[in-house]
Amino acid sequence: MTLDAHNMLLILLVTLATFAMRAGGAVIMARVQLGPIATAAFEAMPVAVLTAVAAPAALTQGVPEAIAGAAAVIIGLRAPMAVVIFVAMATVVAMRQLLG
């Protein structure tokens, strides 16, 4: 168990940068009075951010990942979250075996 100056500096900087993102969003928003357009924009953030993470991850890695992503969406229309995650993992393993 050792602490290295270079590592600790970088760890501190990554910590501060990440905290700045979380705090910045909260503090700036707390002071802003929003009209209907800005309200619609902020209400769209959840679906916009989630889709911007999920779509490239599912659709730019290859055919097995795309099939697994589609399977997770279809199952997810009815099934709970744990099943969706399991289906995503199991399908990607099966498809990589079949197609890889």
Partner: protein, 234 residues
């Protein structure tokens, strides 16, 4: 009446099925940390302080570059800028929290805590115990899992073999589904998804999440602007 205890366990029950993701992800982050030359103690401190796996993994890509001090911050900002959007949205739903509760919520905000709070807010007020029920188990697992992963080192050589690398995608799909079903969400999702894919393929690095989300938000703003311009129906 809903007690704080019930609220905590409501959150905990929601978090339970997704804990497989932080378990596997924290092992991988711990193993990746020691491969970059961090000690197990440093790896654990990093997970406790940053508490954001994507940013930690991305920072390791530039850990030994000449301007590492600048590059790790850019890496963390580009992938974690989504937290600014999420924190802004969550902050609007926690005005009734005490100041300490607000800062604890914001400082430890994660994708699941944010996503589940958004879903909760569709039907009822979000409480601090509810968020704690999600965040506390994830934080403990995250920190301890990093330590275990770092100590075991390279034991998990090929996470893709077990589909663990894809658990992350399953979580985001599961979190997004309730929103995709809502009216007006489809154009937003199509815009943010296609823009994010285009930006990723075009080589924008981790910024593709931010750029894609912005495209979706712009579409939502444009749709609202069109509504405000339409004359009220007679």
């Amino acid at each position: 009446m809903t007690t704080a205890k019930q609220e905590f366990f409501d959150g905990f029950r929601l978090a339970l099925p997704i804990l497989v993701a932080p378990i596997s992800f924290s092992f991988i982050v711990g193993a990746a940390s020691v491969q970059q030359g961090l000690s197990p103690l440093e790896a654990t401190l990093m997970s406790a302080g940053v508490f954001a796996g994507g940013g930690q993994m991305l920072a390791f890509e530039v850990w030994h570059e000449p301007q590492a001090w600048l590059l790790v911050m850019l890496a963390a900002i580009s992938i974690n800028v989504r937290f600014a959007l999420q924190a802004a949205s969550v902050r609007r739903k926690i005005n009734h929290f005490s100041v300490l509760e607000r800062w604890l919520t914001i400082a430890t905000l994660t994708d699941p805590a944010w996503g589940m709070s958004e879903v909760r807010h569709l039907t009822r007020q979000v409480t601090f115990p509810f968020i704690a029920g999600i965040t506390v188990p994830i934080y403990l697992i995250w920190v301890l899992g990093t330590l275990v992963g770092a100590l075991l080192g390279n034991l998990i050589e090929d996470p893709a073999r077990y589909g663990l690398d894809f658990a992350f995608v399953g979580i985001f799909i599961a979190l997004a589904l309730p929103f995709w079903k809502r009216s007006g969400a489809v154009p937003v999702a199509l815009a943010s998804g296609s823009a994010a894919i285009a930006c990723k393929l075009a080589g924008f690095g981790a910024l593709y999440v931010f750029l894609g989300a912005m495209a979706g938000v712009l579409v939502a703003a444009f749709m609202a602007w069109r509504r405000t311009r339409q004359a009220p129906s007679p």
